[in-house]
Symmetry: D2
Subunit: 443 residues, 4 copies
Amino acid sequence: MEYFPFLEEVKFSPGDRDGLYNFSFYNPEQQIAGKNMSEHLRFSVALWHSFLDGGDDPFGEKTLVREWNEIGDDLQKAKLRIDAAFEFMDKLNIQYFCFHDMDLVPSSPNLKIFNDKFDRVAEYLQKKMSKHDKNLLWGTANLFQASYYRQGAATAANPDVFARAAAQVKKALEVTDDLEGDNFVIWGGREGYDSLLNTDMKLDLDNKARFLEMIVDYCKEIGFTGNLLIEPKPMEPRKHLYDFDAAHTHAFLENYGLKEHFKLNIEANHATLAGHNFAHELRYSRIHDMLGSVDANQGDKLLGWDTDEFTSDIYKATLACYELLENGGIAPGGLNFDAKLRRTSTNIEDLVIAHISAMDVYACGLKAAYNLQEDEVLQKFIEQKYEGYSQGIGQQIKQGQTSLEGLEDYVLNNELTKVESDRQELLEKRITEKIIETVQEGL
Amino acid sequence: MEYFPFLEEVKFSPGDRDGLYNFSFYNPEQQIAGKNMSEHLRFSVALWHSFLDGGDDPFGEKTLVREWNEIGDDLQKAKLRIDAAFEFMDKLNIQYFCFHDMDLVPSSPNLKIFNDKFDRVAEYLQKKMSKHDKNLLWGTANLFQASYYRQGAATAANPDVFARAAAQVKKALEVTDDLEGDNFVIWGGREGYDSLLNTDMKLDLDNKARFLEMIVDYCKEIGFTGNLLIEPKPMEPRKHLYDFDAAHTHAFLENYGLKEHFKLNIEANHATLAGHNFAHELRYSRIHDMLGSVDANQGDKLLGWDTDEFTSDIYKATLACYELLENGGIAPGGLNFDAKLRRTSTNIEDLVIAHISAMDVYACGLKAAYNLQEDEVLQKFIEQKYEGYSQGIGQQIKQGQTSLEGLEDYVLNNELTKVESDRQELLEKRITEKIIETVQEGL
Amino acid sequence: MEYFPFLEEVKFSPGDRDGLYNFSFYNPEQQIAGKNMSEHLRFSVALWHSFLDGGDDPFGEKTLVREWNEIGDDLQKAKLRIDAAFEFMDKLNIQYFCFHDMDLVPSSPNLKIFNDKFDRVAEYLQKKMSKHDKNLLWGTANLFQASYYRQGAATAANPDVFARAAAQVKKALEVTDDLEGDNFVIWGGREGYDSLLNTDMKLDLDNKARFLEMIVDYCKEIGFTGNLLIEPKPMEPRKHLYDFDAAHTHAFLENYGLKEHFKLNIEANHATLAGHNFAHELRYSRIHDMLGSVDANQGDKLLGWDTDEFTSDIYKATLACYELLENGGIAPGGLNFDAKLRRTSTNIEDLVIAHISAMDVYACGLKAAYNLQEDEVLQKFIEQKYEGYSQGIGQQIKQGQTSLEGLEDYVLNNELTKVESDRQELLEKRITEKIIETVQEGL
Amino acid sequence: MEYFPFLEEVKFSPGDRDGLYNFSFYNPEQQIAGKNMSEHLRFSVALWHSFLDGGDDPFGEKTLVREWNEIGDDLQKAKLRIDAAFEFMDKLNIQYFCFHDMDLVPSSPNLKIFNDKFDRVAEYLQKKMSKHDKNLLWGTANLFQASYYRQGAATAANPDVFARAAAQVKKALEVTDDLEGDNFVIWGGREGYDSLLNTDMKLDLDNKARFLEMIVDYCKEIGFTGNLLIEPKPMEPRKHLYDFDAAHTHAFLENYGLKEHFKLNIEANHATLAGHNFAHELRYSRIHDMLGSVDANQGDKLLGWDTDEFTSDIYKATLACYELLENGGIAPGGLNFDAKLRRTSTNIEDLVIAHISAMDVYACGLKAAYNLQEDEVLQKFIEQKYEGYSQGIGQQIKQGQTSLEGLEDYVLNNELTKVESDRQELLEKRITEKIIETVQEGL
């Protein structure tokens, strides 16, 4: 069965202004800095938002009806969903996908039944991956949706729930390993609290650390060598989530001696909910050697919840890609479209268009970021700005050769040199110019 | 000269409903859990907000005119300001005060002149402290107001500015030490960025760490044994401040091996600007052994800047005091009123009333928190909630005796036990009841 | 069948500190300003949140399982739900309730079937009301949940949807009229937009006005004399809702000449989402003669969505009740508990406790507000503050006897008199004192 | 004296990628829809932010030192400031400017002195305008900075302050009239409250209306025929400002019968502080025939205060210009750069670059918006979406020929037709494509 009959393979065809279904910037084979664009960007489809989401919200019922979710039993639906996703990936030239266990198998109170079904779907998935030559960017276990996870999974007050979560991660990890997934993600969507009054924060964090340690141990045991990624989010569904942002997660990992084992999966919308720019979270992760992968969506800064929109802002994509390039690339991570259609966008065509648009925005952003990096616009400015630290008193400071006394002495004997302009407006203009230049070169 | 001639010593006089100038709850000598209320609360006056603030805002000029800031040269003004503050502390029965160097000496480009003036004011201050039997809760260096700190102090791009900041801290630390200050605070009001485009975040953080190391070294050298406190704030005046909140600061300290040397000065309004409750930041600091002192103000959650209001919310004060009691007290820290009058509150009486009101709110909060702790309302609930971890599989998890495999095995062989109600509404009711009970006992 | 077997009638029993199920402040028969407390507060149970909500959130499945929602077909469930609600109202001494049509009858594509079922449930409801002597505060039509309302109801782009909404309101209005409801509420939960790009805002507003006109006409026709109430909310579920807040709704009603026909149903949590305090929205409505009824919940100002929590803040309840008293009461409106349990509060007891607690908080708030009003604390301050407008140039301004020229002349010939202190901290202290006094009198 | 000696006339020179001081998109003479770009955009310099701002913030002293503000007495400074501004306007080819009275004359307690000085500066200004052939977009009176305005100007509790504000507006209006200003702006920066406790909101609003009535009367008297504009802002400096946003101001004007006399000056940053997009406020104003002029800046949505940044976002500029084109243009209003440099941008060159950049962003946005309008991309979609209202039942609804009964009848006899996709992602893609196309055509 064909789910996107209206769609042929989407091609790089920048001159074509009338067609909806082509790329203006995304040219998978184009070389940038010695790598294909596709290797740089490593786009990934999110099985949940793109193939399971029904468009329901807290005030409204399902609006998005998909053939593949309507026919047969759970197993059959899972297979049809996979079929649809792989047709989609083929036609859009997307190499990677990501899944939660529960995107493939519905929750079941009985773990054995759940695991058995999971095995059968995984087997089917493996065949499809092989046939379509697709890869798994990451797998994860959904530890937030089932009723029993309402007080947390690794931070559940009931140890049975902790155990259940552990068993569920074990299975999802095995499947991810079997499918040669590049990463395994842990999003602690219920690890946090609704009220401090009923919460033992210390025990919660201790238990969370124990949970992660077991995962590290089991990875060694089964030989899973992909990256383990933690995905920060500040709040929603709960009042406070322990992995609030990159720095909170960093503090936690340092505190429990776990930093070397985990990297971060940074989501744009989660960054803004935490009060940060997307680029900030990427930068923080990058300079602390914690940048693992990216959930490439965007939020609405005027709304206080996770809107998970498809990216449409070239400026932000450029700044994000700049961080990725400075990081030496995002592999073995990738850019996963953890984004959903608005619930009023009910056409199946909308799903295609949203992905094409976001892929083009990131492709343009990558090119612009590369141009920025090549011309050393920012780098030169920053070098010059901080050059005082490569000589004289600055160098001594940097090399740890000074003390408060020595610096007081320096100050008493030297005039304060001029503090130069930080030239923010100029640099912002440079970014805009570089994007414009990139767009014009795209002709 | 008397600055508050309308005011006699403010006394604990709970029955007196007509008088404005008495305490309804704050009874300094009252014993609570073996300590005086005054020892518990360790109230402190903030020289800047209470004795220097002119009420100007970004759109309006000075509204608060104080005699002690209007007469004579800088030195004389500083002395009058100190006189006023000590009269105020005497009459309100406040034992502690806090200062920035620039509350005492105006900024000067010439460090020598600045230090000399500072010495003279410090000498005067010391005499007053001795005479009035008052103590210094903490001193700090103002590293944000001078024009040359606009790009940071420890994170300045210009090493001369770093040096200047170091020299300034050295002096402020020496004075704090001379005055036997219990703590020294570092607020990095300009340590952050306005734009990532012109910022080397890694170098900034490295430099910030070097700066702190020098402070630690110098404390050893001069034998300053008070606590060194970092005060987190997420933003304002800059777009992003590196000490965003307790967890960000924690991550930074862990990353640079500095955690043992610093504790935190938690400010209520800064907590809410970072998206947290005041109690959250206290709890986080407490369980990570980082709770040093408290800036006891409140913000307006509907406004996005630092309003620094006097506390008027008994509920929040109760939850804050509960964390302090669980911490075994806040000493050698204290409750510093880092709060200012609204700029429309132009009467000198308003300053008195604001302090009396906030002191009473905290005194009531302390009593209520103590009653909560005594009755073990929250403690018992939490113990029961998490009791699964003191036996069976929970105990094994806690003792690190389980693995993903072991837990999978457990799940396959055991039914999931019931997840109990978290009873948030009940506990919130209990808090309200305990406050009401405390208020009624106050009769 | 008894749904709350553990519960006897909840009584006013202020001395009883051990019992969970009694009122400390709410004494229905107590006279305040010549009216019973129950007449003042006119508490109402919300059928949806209290008897239908399953605790599901965007990331998690149902957690709250209620007997009355689990047995039989739709009709039977509706009857059991009503039974449970009336047992609850009886035991808690709550006189009023509110409903959406879809709380009683599930959505059906076929209007005839829907209306028939609705009639049968309404008939049952009427008998119960009569038997238990309960009243309907307001009814409403749910115009947001069904998939076809996703682009709006009165502002739907498809006129069939407009028609459907109109027909649904007609029926809900008739039932409300039959049950002698005091009010009929219109919440435009989908009247707004997700994006301006696909929105004809002018046509939307015109259509919304036409919709309201038809309702006004039909009320006249059937003789419904209750108040028509619009409930403002700024956003969620959509990016922007046209009835953003009281002032937006006011502008709309004025613009279309509809102001005389509608009042407002002010919800606390909606007020804060719009950037206002609850008291602000009450005040705005009151002075514009638009205060109709109240949804008495509270939000979490650190979270950006509608948390619909039970009120636990006596301070806010006092300020809200003060506005109600200044309004000469809220009747024929009331205080509807549009609040839900946290999804982790899974005990049926939690539902009872949450209501008792909120009722007590409002009862205490009412008493404190009455004491404030009696003592004229605020009134006297405000009279004095603005007294300049009752004499001299102020009086001339007020009476419209001045012009820019006349005032220039006045300024040139008169010194500016002193601007007095606004004494915010003093008034806040007075509020706290009045609450404390009220609590103590409650002994 | 030349203040920008490094700068020649800035020219449209799109190919020049190396030069900093040229326009890539802004070509004043270019015809768009029968008008010059300069006539479309009507750029205006803000005397305050661009020529007076010192870069001080609540935590830091002045950083921006400008020659023209440092030499001579107030009068001389004002003249130098005007000289600098006119040199700037000449070189950047900006036709308009805006001022507050206090940008020209410092506040004085004595009105006569103030007015006399104002006359002398105005005389100088008039000569300069004539010589340089420049126009005044709008003048305004600063009713927020002086200490005596701290409780409001038109809403001051002290009628002397009301009178002072009236006299000040009279003079500013006369000068604006003399200089043939196109508009006069009223920003009620202190018309609001810090606390409801000490506020008589009703009297405040009544007084505000009286104040506006006097202004209307005086305009008639002196024959000022420019537009009177109110500038909404939700908060800051006070907790709540009465002109919160466009709709609040609309409600106020309708309520007092003043709507015909006032239009709005919409500021981008104020829109976002109120929880709206810039385009939303423009749209709301436009469809209510209230769009008067624009303050073209941008805020930082992660910061809760008015950052007044120069616009750098082509996407937002395009959507704003689209509203202006749909409005039939913004004249006699204009695009005033109510934006300031970051306080770390201390070079005089930064001021030039910030303006060039913002002008280019708006020029590009105008072209893209025009292309959008020409291709009818959005218009056609919207027409099709709502076409149901031009026939059948939709037409009857629109023409007021239906009732609830008629519509119920319709529903009972007709199947609900399909609700079509709202295609938000497609339209967002179209916007991006149109911008890209515009940028590429710019080659």
